[in-house]
């Protein structure tokens, strides 16, 4: 009886956005009289961070400090239509809508500033710290706040923008399956190191090394949180979770977290992440949605590592100790495959 080490690999890509399009998102941006910008959406923030990423996209596009932007979301009386937070579409679809709304608002902002400075709007730039100045002449400047006040009380001008992003609906061909699924794909490759106890069948994931290509990490901390959480979910899917343990039999379905197993905080696996960024041309600043895809490579990589450790094919999830043990017994004992890539 022994503990066997195993190493497994998997690589994937992931479509970003609702598969066949036809899923619009709208955003509205407007300024208060003192130059603070409100972004009004109906996106849902379920922890993935659309409020925060939307705020950054708006601030960058407007050219104002992020502290001066606030995202108000999901009130159907005020937020314009959005399809929803699913299919990795939030950052891609809503992000583009926000950029467009903020671009229109920025144009108004620069026009108002141009009137105050008596220059041409096309000669103006923002410094991202709350000032607008003439290109190459930082001393000829006005604050965003003063501009907004002038626009509101002197010029009678709104500093507002509307944004809409819609990928047109695509048809699927019934005979060939031809379709235009999505325009941008995220990528991942991952190596799992684990051990298998050939006496108990228990699998313990020791380490995850991953590389995720996300287009652009719009907020690196949010990306890391997604990737760490997603890998945790991947481990959980691979080894523990199911609502129907004897699928397709319906019996013994868990009804609480005593019977629905998931790894606890102490089971979180050490994880080294590499983030790659190849910007997608139609994505906001090139960023792809990293949230959905990040669990996917973990499942097969764990199954491949279990095979590498003891020679048992685990093609049915979850990979319970019972399945591993039955596999080892059917093979007449553990059959370690040797370290790959050595």
């Amino acid at each position: 009886m022994a503990i066997h080490h195993g190493r497994g690999f998997a690589s994937i890509n992931y479509p970003i956005g609702m598969n066949l399009g036809g899923d619009p998102s709208q955003a509205l941006v407007h300024s208060t009289p003192d130059g603070k910008f409100k972004v009004t959406l109906s996106s849902i923030d379920l922890g993935q961070g659309i409020k925060s990423v939307g705020r950054q996209l708006a601030a960058e596009t407007l050219g104002v400090p992020v502290e001066d932007v606030f995202v108000d979301t999901a009130d159907s009386d005020t937020g314009p239509h959005d399809m929803g937070s699913f299919a990795s579409r939030g950052t891609h679809r809503m992000g583009n809508a926000i950029i467009r709304a903020a671009t229109e608002a920025r144009a108004q902002l620069l026009e108002a500033a141009a009137e105050e400075l008596e220059v041409d709007a096309s000669d103006l730039v923002t410094d991202g710290r709350g000032n607008i100045h003439v290109k190459g002449a930082p001393s000829r400047s006005i604050t965003v706040e003063a501009t907004a006040t002038a626009a509101q009380f002197n010029q009678g001008r709104t500093l507002a923008g509307r944004g809409m992003f819609l990928v047109p609906l695509s048809e699927v061909d019934r005979d060939t399956g031809e379709m235009t699924p999505v325009s941008s794909f995220a990528h991942a490759a991952l190596i799992i190191d684990l051990t298998v106890d050939d006496e108990t069948g228990e699998v313990e994931v020791q380490h995850i090394n991953s590389a995720y290509e996300v287009g652009r990490a719009l907020n690196p901390r949010l990306v890391e949180q997604q990737l760490i959480g997603g890998a945790w979910m991947g481990v959980s899917h691979a080894l523990y979770e199911t609502t129907e343990p004897y699928y397709p039999d319906r019996s013994h379905g868990p009804i609480d977290f005593n019977h629905y197993l998931q790894p606890g905080p102490g089971d979180a696996v050490p994880h080294h992440i590499s983030v790659l960024e190849r910007p997608a041309p139609d994505a906001p600043f090139g960023g792809k949605g990293p949230g959905e895809m990040c669990a996917n490579p973990v499942l097969p990589a764990i199954a491949n590592a279990v095979f590498n450790a003891v020679g048992v094919e685990c093609d049915s999830l979850p990979i319970t100790p019972e399945k591993v043990l039955r596999g080892i017994r059917a093979n007449g004992g553990a059959r370690p495959q040797g370290r790959p890539g050595a």
Binding site: I12, L20, P24, Q56, S76, V182, H272, V275, P281
Partner: protein
């Protein structure tokens, strides 16, 4: 836990000079979350709040002979007992919002139940306990029916009918087939030429989304004859649309508030709570909460479906995969929800991030007598990736190759033709493989370490839409009558042949152009450089000597029916190259969509497909009764 940013990779396609983008800005809502002060739907308190519990089926499949709720109605605290006949539009399908599929699921079951836990009555009472005690006092007389739980059993002729709207136990695609097809090249001939055949079957388990906050909604009367709904929905206007449809009221009377949600993972798209809570609120004239407990969340809430996938690969000795066939079964449970759509999403994902010149798949959306499955993180993709990546390791073993090198050899690259007939671009699988191997001490051959997503793509057979064998197997009802094998090309039906380059449409995956010029951001402010992901311009004949780390796919093996000489020409017809519709977000200038002198005639007539879809019920711009006011696009099934 630590992370490194490989800024060295793809640096020529990116500028990183920003004020806010790429910075670890603190979450806008995090202080409220970590101090426990963020308001979730259940944090909205109302005087006299009523609570709802449902009478649920104890059977997998049964006819409802009668329901006696008289004892329940007399119990203390019970305010209302609602049944399916109290719901103005009781039957719905979630994707009627995009005109996909037929209404097949009752909000509250009336004549029969199709799964354990299906709601029959909704009881509104002054407390959760009073509601539950009333639920326990309801007597339902059931006539149990035979049930089916396995997807492949459900497709057999003798299987009981799960869902009367789809009497073949499979979703109808295009009113024509009982599955979604993918056909690219000629898998059968390629299998006969392959050195190895590798087969496998893979099973995904049903999985609970397990949000910390269970699904629910509170509906409260607002002044001015409106209803305010606080909801955990992941899709605010989806839920508004479903509620307006099922209650048959104007959306002007609905005010939905959400947006701060305690985890979703896909399980909060189904929009069942909002219509029931709003209906009860209308009936009782008081605020009503409908919230699942954990048991309901786990067994009544739609889980990730149990998908089954079979893969058959034809592989050459050197590791090149020349043919791949899939047979996939999505276990939808008793009603469609979103599974029909996930089938198409998975089909668009095949054969994974690899360039394989011959691909075929049959994917089924199957009805069984279990809780309807729904979206979950990676919907339509997670199980396919499990299958494909398990299978890739088996292929590596069959040819005695390093598993990562096998993937790099077969990886898709910019310019390759994907099986759904669109050109690959913005690829980064190879670089991801190299990055993880390098830091993990997994040594790769010099050739694999040198490979690049940006070179060698679109060459030879991998750059064109091949001549394709088609078939008409699996017409709606055929399997039910005679029992057919589910695999592609299982031997019956009529074969057809589509010429090289065939494309039935050229719709764009790119977004609409901004409606006004001043909504169009300046490209240089968006951080794009170089040619990231832009489809290559039509070019001259491929220079074979330029192909560095990628062996050319031999044409005679890849497409046995296809003359070698026909392929080398000036890449593919421009009509098939996907180009952005708008002008925003294009980092570099584009060649004209139609290159001068490119023969348009290569696009075959689409008359057959047109006439068939025109005959379907749902056409563009045509309203039908019960269709939501929130249709965001119309589509043909």
């Amino acid at each position: 836990m630590n992370a490194e940013y490989r800024k060295d990779l793809f640096a020529d396609e990116r500028s990183d000079d920003f004020n806010v983008i790429g910075k670890p800005v603190i979450r806008q809502d995090i202080l409220g979350h970590v101090t426990g002060r963020s308001k979730f739907y259940d944090d909205h308190a109302f005087d006299g709040l009523l609570h709802m519990r449902c009478v649920r089926s104890p059977h997998h499949h049964a006819r409802i002979r009668s329901v006696d709720s008289s004892a329940a109605e007399r119990q203390d605290g019970v305010v209302r007992v609602l049944g399916g006949r109290d719901v103005p539009v009781n039957t719905n399908t979630l994707l009627s919002l995009i005109n996909f599929g037929r209404d097949d699921e009752p909000l509250l079951a009336t004549d029969k139940v199709g799964y354990v836990g299906q709601p029959i009555l909704a009881i509104v009472a002054t407390s959760v306990r009073a509601a539950q005690e009333a639920v326990d006092a309801v007597k339902v007389d059931y006539e149990e029916l035979p049930h089916v739980l396995d997807v492949e059993e459900a497709l057999k002729p003798e299987a009981p009918i799960v869902n009367e709207e789809y009497p073949n136990n499979a979703f109808d695609y295009f009113d024509t087939y009982d599955h979604q097809k993918l056909r690219f090249g000629d898998v059968e001939t390629a299998f006969s030429k392959a050195d190895h055949i590798v087969e496998g079957e893979y099973q995904m388990s049903p999985i609970e989304q397990a949000p910390i906050e269970t699904c629910g909604a509170i509906a409260a009367p607002e002044t001015s004859d409106r209803i305010t709904v606080h909801t955990s929905t992941q899709a605010l206007f989806f839920s508004v649309g479903v509620t307006a449809k099922q209650l048959d009221i104007s959306s002007a009377r609905l005010h939905f508030i959400g947006g701060t949600v305690g985890g979703g993972f896909g399980g909060k798209v189904d929009s069942h709570h909002e219509p029931l809570a709003a209906l009860a609120c209308l009936a009782a004239g008081k605020p009503v909460k409908y919230m699942w407990d954990r048991a309901e969340e786990m067994q009544v809430g739609g889980p990730r479906g149990g998908e089954r996938w079979r893969i058959k690969d034809g592989v050459m000795r050197d590791g090149r995969i020349i043919a791949r066939a899939f047979t996939g079964f999505f276990d939808a449970g008793a009603y469609t929800r979103l599974s029909s759509y996930a089938v198409q999403k998975s089909t668009g994902h095949l054969p994974g991030p690899y360039s394989i010149p011959n691909v075929a798949s049959n994917v089924y959306c199957v009805f069984t007598n279990r809780t309807p499955s729904t979206a979950m993180r990676g919907f339509g993709i997670t199980a396919v990736d499990f299958a494909i990546e398990r299978h890739m390791d088996k292929v590596a073993r069959a040819v005695g190759m390093d598993p990562i090198e096998l993937r790099i050899l077969n990886a898709y690259r910019d310019g390759d033709m994907k099986a759904h007939r669109r050109e690959a671009k913005n690829c980064a699988l190879i670089e991801s493989c190299q990055a993880v191997a390098q830091k993990s001490g997994w040594s790769l051959s010099a050739e694999a370490a040198r490979a690049s997503s940006k070179s060698g793509g679109g060459e030879g057979a991998l750059g064109v839409i091949p001549e394709t064998v088609t078939d008409d197997e699996g017409r709606v009802g055929e399997r039910r009558r005679s029992g057919l094998a589910p695999e592609p090309f299982s031997g019956h039906g009529t074969r057809g042949l589509l010429p090289e380059g065939h494309s039935s449409n050229n719709s764009s995956a790119f977004g609409n152009a901004p409606q006004r010029e001043d909504m169009e951001a300046e490209i240089e402010r968006l951080g794009f450089k170089g040619a990231s992901g832009v489809p290559p311009a039509p070019q001259g004949p491929v220079d074979e000597t330029a192909s560095s780390a990628r062996p050319t796919m031999p044409t005679e093996t890849a497409h046995a029916t296809h003359p070698a000489g026909a392929r080398g020409g000036p890449s593919l017809p421009a009509a098939y190259v996907q180009r952005p519709a708008g002008t925003i977000n294009q980092p570099i200038s584009q060649p004209p969509a139609q290159a001068p002198g490119t023969p348009v005639a290569q696009q075959p007539p689409a008359a057959e497909a047109e006439s068939e879809s025109a005959a379907t019920h749902f056409q563009r711009g045509v309203r039908r009764p019960g269709v939501s006011r929130f249709i965001s696009g119309s589509r043909r099934r």
